[in-house]
Amino acid sequence: MKKEFREGMRDGIPIGLGYLAVSFSLGVAARSAGLTAFQGFMASLLNNASAGEYAGFTVIAANASYLEMVLMTLIANARYLLMSCALSQKFAPDASLGHRLLVGYDVTDEIFGITISRPGVLNPYYTYGAILVAAPCWACGTAMGVTAGNLLPLRVVSALSVALFGMFLAVIIPPSRKNRIVAIFVLVSFLASFAAANLPYLSRLSGGTRTIILTVLISAAAAALFPVKDEKEADD
């Protein structure tokens, strides 16, 4: 348990670094929507969602209705529903409600990515370790972005911003090496995502919405064409 927690904290460091960079720019958006540093801090601490928060800040900036905030948040964060479904299968069936409620606090792309890629049953303490390092970075970065948008040199922000993507690669590439079908669908996802970002109509959708649509379509196609055979294969 202690070892898992420490490993979680270690893996939380690159996530936290990436979070600092990303939430910093999120803070700049929060500032222009009229949030104070404390409000930006609270929004990030309670949401832990990049695209979702960004979408929310545009709702605040527009002084739109509370209902619109509900809908916008639902759409922008719908992929977390998919991730939590996947994560529910990783929990031991007898895992307590408390663990489920706590892990649910911070199901982000990154925390999800490192949690799901661990072999075997989900150990919540690993996830807690990562959350403990990453979540404060996310909230503090946002507050910093609100107070001092141009504090860090642009080049440093630019370099830090790929930390997240590096981590994504470390999650998706090793299974691609082991399993050719995963490799093919990673490649398909790259191409489809590039196409969707550049095609007319599709490119007008937000990044979050494109992510949802592509994830559902490509994963469904993969599941229909190459169903996973048994427990063992699914755990690979």
């Binding site: 270690r10 893996d11 609270m42 929004a43 309670l46 832990n48 928060e53 605040i60 002084n63 209705s65 509370y66 905030m69 509900v70 948040t73 639902l74 529903l81 939590s84 479904c85 996947a86 529910s88 299968q89 069936p93 489920r100 409620l101 649910g104 199901v107 792309d109 990515g113 490192i114 890629s117 080049r155 440093v156 630019s158 370099a159 911003s161 790929v162 590096g166 994504f168 690669l169 470390a170 999650v171 998706i172 590439i173 090793p174 691609s176 090496r177 995963v182 990673v186 996802s189 489809a192 995502s193 990044g207 992510t211 592509l214 994830t215 994963s219 469904a220 993969a222 190459f226 169903p227």
Partner: protein, 101 residues
């Protein structure tokens, strides 16, 4: 009418939390349906791949530095480097390249 920013934030937080926690608390058993299980198996890889590219080209000052980070990151991960090493390698790649680009 003017809306309260704290209520906005509260709504965002509540909706986001419900989205995350409902599947975790309601789905207690192993899903038996083969299609659904396969679907959930592929979801993480597909989502992360979709979010990585082409976004990595747009996040850096120079798209070329982002592309280099992508390729070098893939090679490093392929060779077995872990989360933190791959992240650092990508950051250093961008930082060094952008000194010149």
């Amino acid at each position: 009418m003017t809306h309260d920013i704290y209520i906005y934030i509260g709504i965002m937080a509540a909706v986001t939390y419900v989205i995350r926690v409902l599947p975790l608390t309601l789905i207690r058993k192993q899903i038996k349906n083969r299609f659904l299980r396969s679907f959930l198996y592929y979801v993480p890889y597909v989502t992360l791949a979709v979010m990585t590219f082409p976004a990595i080209l747009e996040t850096t000052q120079s798209p070329l530095a982002g592309a280099a980070a992508l390729i070098i990151g893939i090679i490093a991960a392929w060779c077995g480097a872990g989360l933190f090493p791959v992240s650092v390698i990508c950051c250093v790649t961008v930082f060094v390249l952008e000194l010149f680009l």
